[in-house]
């Protein structure tokens, strides 16, 4: 902050250094004031109210609970909120989707980056279009129906793979284009087959960009509600956002905030925990790695 700023700005008079320091303090004061309503209060609101009884949570206050109902609320989420089923289904969708998209996407990206064929470039653009153009949901349902996969987790995961492939392909192709081709050539001269070159030369170099891809995939796939609601019809196949919605909509007389917030805490928990463990790598990956348009 202030120190980093002053080292950058060459030797200045002490008055300037003092002024910079004050500006730094002011900056972080403003940031804290902004972070309070933007992040801290929302998180506090859901956590503290998830510990309260229904009547007390209805007041939506930021105060600590007078009556603690922590165990009751979180038990209700697991028992009536279909939480464990949702968690299992979310994992069944997200894990294969991320692995398949990263593996098949990086295979294709290598080809798109190195092949000079015009037809492969056309295919690259078509694949990349899926970043901007929204998936056509009704024909997808028709298609999955004809394949006998409508309403199944497999069908939903396949749709996710096909429509999210473009983002990973686009980012990874840009990344490979920036890599020197010499290493791959050396492997070819040594007689390595192309698939071996992919595994032993290319894939290790793609670690950082594939981490970025994995983070974005997980965020998008784990949190999807719109397509899940249209493609997964039964509560047995519901992913976490769907169980949250069903749980919240269950009571006719408005929301039971304590239960909704308890479910919400548990729905968001898996990603937040992973993020807290790996935040340094995730953030530096996202800023330095891939998101450079």
């Amino acid at each position: 902050m202030a120190t980093a700023g002053s080292t950058r700005a060459a030797p200045h008079s002490t008055r300037r250094v003092v002024r910079r320091r004050w500006k730094g303090l002011l900056k972080y004061g403003v940031l804290i004031l902004f972070a309070l309503p933007w992040v801290v209060v929302p998180i506090w609101l859901i956590v503290v109210n998830s510990f309260k009884t229904e009547g007390e949570a209805a007041l939506l206050s930021l105060a600590l609970p007078t009556d603690w109902a922590l165990v009751e609320n979180y038990t209700a989420v697991i028992v009536r909120g279909n939480y464990l089923t949702g968690l299992r289904n979310s994992l069944l969708v997200a894990v294969p989707t991320v692995i398949v998209v990263l593996f098949l996407g990086s295979l294709a990206s290598w080809a798109y980056a190195r092949s000079k064929h015009r037809s492969t470039q056309v295919l690259f653009y078509i694949t990349s279009l899926s970043i901007l153009l929204p998936p056509a949901i009704i024909p997808t349902i028709y298609l999955l129906n004809s394949l006998g996969l409508d309403g199944t987790i497999v069908g939903y995961a396949l749709m996710m793979m096909g429509t999210r492939m473009g983002l990973v392909v686009f980012m990874t192709t840009g990344f490979v284009r920036g890599l020197p081709i010499e290493l791959e050539e050396a492997a070819a001269i040594d007689g390595a087959s192309r698939i071996r070159t992919y595994f032993s030369v290319l894939l290790p170099m793609l670690r950082s960009i594939l981490l970025v891809g994995a983070v974005l995939m997980v965020i998008v796939v784990w949190n999807d509600f719109f397509f899940g609601q249209l493609l997964l019809k039964t509560s047995a196949n519901a992913t976490l956002p769907l169980t949250l919605y069903a749980f919240a909509s269950a009571s006719v007389s408005g929301l039971s905030w304590n239960l909704v917030f308890a479910h919400l805490v548990m729905t968001s928990a898996p990603l937040v925990v992973i993020y807290l463990v790996a935040q340094r790598r995730i953030l530096s990956g996202l800023t330095e790695g891939g998101l450079k348009g």
Partner: protein
């Protein structure tokens, strides 16, 4: 999709001795096919089929799928559903985009240097990105509830303030769009930070030596060189918000009335009534809207990018 297959034969042994040519030439079929299979079947094919479906009267009430021409468009237009949903979607997308980019750019300017304290703040402001848009909708529905913390704060200066932010048509639309901006601004911030850090420091110092004020340095150097990050953020936030559904499902359910009924909310409604044809019509409209906005916008924004 035919040509990559022919590439296999186009890589004869002679070329194997010239690896550069070999890599740039053919032999990529099996690297491309698996991903193309998934993209072709689950992105391209539905995308193409959406056009005939939009002009059909497919519903749960009949086994046949009759072609009805522009009937779906006409009836949705005449009952006001189409025009209303287009307007709501556009307002939502613009508000979400503006909120997101103003917040993200300000945060990026404040947190550009990678210091320990900045990393902490970056990490904090990234948290909403991890939550599902549905969760974001519920959180803010609680915050802006008449009894919620927002009105409680306003109540300090204006006692007894109990405005229902989601209960009035105009404020409801702005509120849900704001939630969308809130949820995604953490990503846009990182893109702007990456953009700012790719500007050579020497340029800013040179401008400073030439006597440029802080504002001039921001406007003429950083803002100008930030163009690629701008293009990326503005286009992705705008296009993303055009598919808005999740936040609204949790916060307002499309109401009051149809005040927050975006095109995708209408798609979901038509689908739940069993009218798959009109649902397709509305979903095709989202696509057309995205194309109509994104193509000229990308073209225009790219023009001002410094190569």
């Amino acid at each position: 999709m035919v040509s990559p297959a022919s590439e296999v034969t186009a890589a004869p042994n002679k070329r194997a001795r010239r690896p550069r040519r070999a890599l740039r030439g053919g032999g990529w079929t099996w690297f491309l096919l698996p991903s193309l299979f998934l993209v072709g079947l689950f992105f391209v094919l539905p995308f193409v089929l959406n056009v005939p479906f939009a002009f059909s009267q497919w519903s749960t009430y009949s086994n046949s799928i009759p072609f009805v021409g522009f009937d779906n468009f006409v009836s949705l237009w005449n009952n006001g559903a189409l025009g209303g949903a287009i307007r709501v979607t556009l307002v939502y997308a613009v508000v979400a985009m503006v909120v997101q980019n103003i917040v993200a750019l300000s945060l990026a300017l404040a947190l550009r240097d990678t210091t320990r304290i900045n990393t902490f703040f970056r990490s904090l402001f990234f948290l909403p990105v991890l939550m599902s848009p549905l969760a974001a909708g519920y959180i803010w529905r609680g915050i802006v509830d008449p009894a919620g913390p927002l009105n409680a704060v306003i109540g300090i200066v204006n006692s007894g303030f109990d405005y229902a932010w989601l209960g009035h048509p105009s404020s409801a639309l702005f509120t849900v769009a704001f939630i969308d901006g809130w949820k995604w601004s953490g990503i846009a911030t990182l893109v702007y930070i990456a953009g700012l850090n790719s500007i050579p420091k020497s340029l800013m110092e040179a401008a400073s030596l030439d006597g440029a004020s802080a504002w001039q340095r921001f406007w003429h150097v950083q803002f100008a060189l930030l163009a690629p990050a701008f293009t990326f953020n503005i286009v992705t936030t705008l296009v993303g918000a055009m598919s808005a559904y999740d936040v609204i499902a949790a916060a307002s359910g499309g109401g009051p009335g149809t005040a927050t009924t975006t095109l995708n909310v209408a798609v979901q409604q038509q689908f739940s009534y069993g009218f798959f044809g009109t649902a397709s019509t509305l979903s095709l409209t989202v696509t057309l809207l995205v194309v109509a906005v994104a193509v000229p916008l990308v073209w225009w924004l790219r023009k001002r990018e410094v190569a």
